[in-house]
């Protein structure tokens, strides 16, 4: 499914990141994005970050996802 809420990178080790969403953490690869940084919001598909997101839009989306009970 492509309804992908924004994940935030909280740790980075080479091409592997720890990403966080709604308090739960998972790992994702960051091979496909340019210059990933801790704090970046990314869209994750099948364990791979496929694009960085505008942080303001990502925070807005998080509010909506929370209200819709999706987080």
């Amino acid at each position: 499914m492509c309804v992908a809420p924004p994940f935030r990178i909280v740790e980075l080790d080479g091409n592997t990141a720890v990403v966080e969403l709604g308090g739960s953490r998972s790992t994702a690869r960051v091979d496909a994005i340019e210059d990933p940084q801790v704090g970046d919001y990314v869209r994750v598909h099948a364990g791979l970050a496929i694009t960085k997101l505008d942080p303001d839009k990502a925070r807005e989306d998080l509010v909506l996802f929370r209200e819709l009970g999706m987080l």
Binding site: C2, A4, A32, G47, L48, I50, L64
Partner: protein, 370 residues
């Protein structure tokens, strides 16, 4: 102050009104994204839009377009005693000719659901069993399978292979336009495939077929923004590529992801459920990665396979019929007892229609036009 949800509803309603104002004539649009199909049903967008604007579901669910022959090949792989199948969850209950991965698992096959392909490589590294990853998906999923294959090669993981059943979207769109039982006036292009391939990738398609093509996002307002752009082009007699999902989709896509795909895969002819054999409609592993080809390692071939005689997934996938028009919908075929993939996958058009209350003869179970 309005909540974000109330604002979303207000935006969505306003866009539906704008669509009604702009769309002068009847038109048939198609989305090619399982999530669009799901969201469209979930938010009842069909009931918000005027009746003259039809949005059909196309072949946008990767599991659904996987052929019965390919499913049978995964089952044959699953029956090999030393093999562990690693797969995305949607594939587990999809019926092949006689069985499904869920059935094989009940008969002692080792079938594991993974979230990330890299997990399958690690599973192989940590054990002795032959781990076969089912590579199913469009351009969105190919890069993550490519990362797994590159890791397997770099880390010299000898007991990891991939059954490569990936499909390429653009050749399928051409096949769709050539289908005799489908007439489309506009195409809502999928957001995340387009994140990878870029919106410029549709230019040649639009030039060939002279139909408007708009890339759309996944929230209900984003979907309707795409629909509005399509009906506006039709009203103005234009046929162009537009991006209604800016911020996520760029003109040229994700160059790193495209390079990953290109390093590992090369286009090949492939069969799609509902559309048949499509030139360059799929991907195979490049020669440099041939050692990771599960079909070669285990001597398995993809045959014709047989769909359930009552199943009309093929017509649903082309948009020739709507899910509720299938003879088996909600009687012989339900999510609990699916005859075809469109009722299994969370991205399937039939599963979405069933879950959100569409029933034959009416729009909604609870207060609709039964």
């Amino acid at each position: 102050m309005k909540s974000a949800q109330e604002e979303l509803i207000a935006r969505t309603r306003k866009l539906a009104e704008e669509v009604a104002g702009v769309a002068a004539e009847a038109c048939t649009l198609m989305e090619v994204c399982g999530t669009h199909a799901h969201q469209y049903a979930r938010y009842g967008l069909g009931e918000l839009l005027p009746e003259r604007v039809t949005l059909l579901s196309g072949p946008g669910c990767p599991v659904c377009v996987t052929t019965a022959g390919e499913i049978d090949a995964t089952l044959e792989l699953a029956r090999i005693p030393e093999v562990t199948i690693a797969t995305f969850g949607d594939m587990v209950r999809v019926p092949g000719s006689e069985s499904s991965l869920a059935h094989e698992r009940a008969r002692d096959a080792d079938v594991r659901v993974i979230v990330s392909p890299i997990d399958a490589v690690e599973m192989a590294e940590c054990g002795e069993r032959e781990v076969v990853l089912l590579g199913v998906g469009f351009e969105t999923t190919m890069p993550s399978v490519a990362v797994a294959l590159r890791e397997a090669r770099d880390r010299d993981v000898g007991n990891f292979t991939v059954f490569c059943a990936h499909k390429r979207l653009l050749p399928a769109l051409d096949a769709l336009m050539a289908a005799p039982d489908v007439q489309l006036d506009g195409l809502l292009a999928p957001g995340h495939v387009s994140t990878i391939i870029g919106w410029a990738a549709y230019r040649e398609f639009v030039a060939r077929h002279h139909v408007p093509c708009v890339v759309g996002g996944f929230e209900p307002d984003e979907i309707l923004r795409g629909v509005l752009a399509l009906v506006r082009q039709l009203a103005e007699g234009r046929a162009e590529v537009e991006n209604a999902y800016p911020g996520t989709v760029s003109e040229d896509g994700n160059p790193r992801a495209l390079a990953l795909i290109d390093e590992v895969f090369e286009p090949c002819d492939a069969s799609w459920r509902g559309l048949g054999m499509i030139p360059e409609g799929g991907m195979r592993l490049r020669e440099e990665y041939a050692q990771f080809d599960a079909l070669k390692r285990f001597g398995v071939e993809v045959g014709e396979g047989a769909e359930h005689p009552a199943c009309q997934c093929a017509e649903v996938l082309r948009g020739a019929i709507r899910p509720v028009e299938c003879r088996a919908f909600s009687n012989a075929c339900t999510p609990a007892n699916p005859l075809g993939p469109c009722m299994v996958s969370s991205e399937g058009a039939c599963a979405a229609a069933f879950r959100y209350g569409e029933r034959p003869g009416g729009m909604s179970e609870s207060g609709g036009k039964q």
